[in-house]
């Protein structure tokens, strides 16, 4: 793949982001609160009264982008900028979600290997697993985090809970995806179950697994953030969100800045999986255009 083709998805992404940001401000220009700016950078004063008024885009619900951007540079009581405390919080949450992701991927894959070999378990357990995923994470998180008193490890368990399911489903699918004749071939070599698993089922599954890993990576970030709420952990992005929520009525830009940090962590997690996928699947036939 040439460098240009590699860059194209990234450029497309940046274009979409730019469009959203422009739309954001255009909405405020049409229906937001009045714009009042005295001498920006020494320039002339700017005043604009939007022709319409629409609550969802007023300054409380949708602060100006520059207000949110400015929030990053506000100093807290300790004299630290908000952005540096957010980066610290993001790193803290990222570690929880990474641990959760790897535990979830491991458990998900292990579970799939068991299920694929024991038909009875597959029939009995899969509906239960599906049910487990319909329980809201907000309800599960306190049970795990408070119940187990496990602190940040408990948070990682919440992330695991959200991660393992897509991996299990994709792994089951992937391990059955090989050509039926490939299984006949293994049978003709009198290969045992373990050999079939090692030489055929597992190596055939990565194209399916990585699709699940992309979902799981972002889900593990959500799990880690939500898990922090009941844990009372204040060092992560969950804590940052809670704090910003408390001050929302007079400083909404803080919450938006924290949301931006959460989105950033999610995107980083996703991109890490995409990079790993590129590396891992370089020996596989590229069937479909990868959704990156």
């Amino acid at each position: 793949m040439s460098a240009r083709r590699r860059l194209r998805p990234a450029l497309g992404f940046l274009l979409i982001v730019a469009l959203i940001l422009v739309a954001w401000e255009v909405a405020k220009l049409l229906a937001g609160d009045p714009w009042r700016y005295e001498d920006i950078l020494g320039g002339p004063a700017f005043y604009w009264d939007p022709p319409l008024r629409w609550k969802p885009v007023n300054d409380l619900n949708l602060p100006h982008l520059w207000t949110i951007f400015g929030a990053f540079w506000e100093l807290d009581a300790k004299g630290e900028t908000y952005v540096s405390s957010l980066v610290g919080a993001a790193w803290f949450t990222m570690r929880e979600s990474l641990l959760g992701f790897f535990m979830g991927a491991g458990i998900g894959l292990g579970l799939a290997i068991v299920l694929i070999h024991v038909k009875v378990l597959e029939r009995g357990l899969v509906p239960l697993l599906v049910a487990s995923q319909t329980v809201p994470i907000i309800a599960i998180a306190p049970v795990v985090v408070v119940g187990l008193r496990a602190g940040w490890f408990g948070v990682a368990i919440v992330a695991t809970y959200l991660t393992f399911f897509p991996v299990t489903i994709a792994a089951i699918r992937g391990m059955r995806a090989a050509d039926p004749r490939a299984f006949e071939l293994m049978r003709s070599y009198a290969a045992g179950r373990r050999t079939v698993l090692r030489k055929l089922r597992l190596p055939a599954s990565p194209p399916y697994l990585f699709t699940a890993f992309k979902i799981a990576a972002t889900a593990s970030v959500v799990g880690a953030i939500v898990g922090e709420f009941p844990a009372g952990i204040r060092d992560g992005l969950g804590g940052a969100l809670l704090q910003a929520m408390q001050y929302y009525s007079f400083s909404p830009q803080d919450l938006w800045a924290a949301i931006a940090a959460c989105a950033g962590v999610g995107i980083i997690a996703f991109l890490l999986v995409v990079a790993a996928e590129r590396l891992a699947l370089r020996n596989y036939r590229q069937i479909e255009d990868q959704a990156t």
Binding site: R181, A182, E184, S188, A191, P203, A204, R285
Partner: protein, 281 residues
């Protein structure tokens, strides 16, 4: 099959083999895929199974390879039951699709069976190189299967099937998916490999010229239930090349196989007429 060959010379011995697929559920019909199959294959023979689709030729091949079981009869391979022969790794399989593993290089694909039986690395590599040289893919050992053409992929599959030096090579329409030109070239290559390795081959095809060109005997089958209607010995010279396809004897044999195939269909037509008459009477 007037004379029974001596037992140590027989690689495959089928006696009274039948196969019935029991339908599952109420609507699914019970299908009698094979009925009363007797066949002996001597060491070094090249046997083609030919017949209309649904005559059970692939089923028969899979029964010999113990990929599916019989409903009745016995299958002996190299003096063992088919299952024991499979456990002793006496088979090499080639399917219509190459069924190579994408994630392995061509070299490592050929090494696969050797890995499964736990051969040391050096031996695996040497053997795989030898097999790839035999099918003239030596220069492509480091490629992945999806980087090769269909014909090359099928040659790699043949190299893999030969890696364990199997007592018998089972081929299920191996060139069915290739274009005519590639197919003719692959036929010549297969014959060359067969001459050099002296392997016994059972080859399923629905191409009459291919069957005649390759085989020492052509087994003609009919459908519903699958039976052997005729065995045509091919008395062409042992060494065959492009010119063989232009020999008069070759055309005679093609005609003979074609007529015996038509005969087996004709029977089915007659049966239908008899059934219709029976109804109107």
């Amino acid at each position: 099959m007037t004379e029974r060959p001596t037992t140590d010379d027989v690689v495959v011995d089928l006696r009274g083999v039948s196969k019935v697929f029991e339908g599952r559920g109420q609507k699914a019909a019970r299908v009698e895929a094979l009925s009363g199959i007797d066949l002996s294959v001597r060491r070094g023979e090249f046997i083609s199974l030919i017949g209309p689709s649904g005559c059970g030729k692939s089923t028969l091949l899979r029964i010999v390879g113990d990929l599916i079981g019989v409903s009745d009869g016995t299958v002996m391979v190299n003096g063992k039951l088919a299952r024991e022969a499979r456990l002793a790794r006496e088979y090499g399989m080639v399917f219509q699709a190459p069924v190579l593993f994408d994630w392995r290089t061509v070299q490592r694909n050929v090494e696969l069976p050797l890995e499964i039986i736990g051969r040391p690395k050096e031996e695996r590599e040497a053997r795989a190189r030898e097999m790839l040289a035999l099918v003239e893919l030596g220069d492509f050992a480091g490629h992945h299967p999806w980087q090769l053409s269909g014909g090359m992929q099928q040659r790699a599959a043949i190299a893999r099937a030969l890696a364990l030096d199997p007592a018998i090579l089972l081929m299920d329409e191996p060139f069915g998916a290739l274009d005519e030109m590639t197919r003719e070239r692959m036929n010549l290559e297969l014959l060359r490999i067969w001459e050099r390795t002296a392997t016994t081959v059972i080859f399923v095809t629905h191409s009459i010229p291919e069957a005649v060109f390759l085989s020492t005997r052509v087994v003609v089958m009919s459908a519903r239930p699958g039976r052997i209607t005729k065995i045509v010995p091919v008395d062409l010279p042992h060494h065959r090349d492009v010119e063989t396809r232009e020999m008069e004897r070759y055309f005679e044999l093609v005609t003979e196989v074609r007529e015996s195939l038509r005969g087996s269909e004709g029977e089915a037509v007659d049966l239908r007429r008899v059934a219709a008459e029976g109804l109107s009477a």
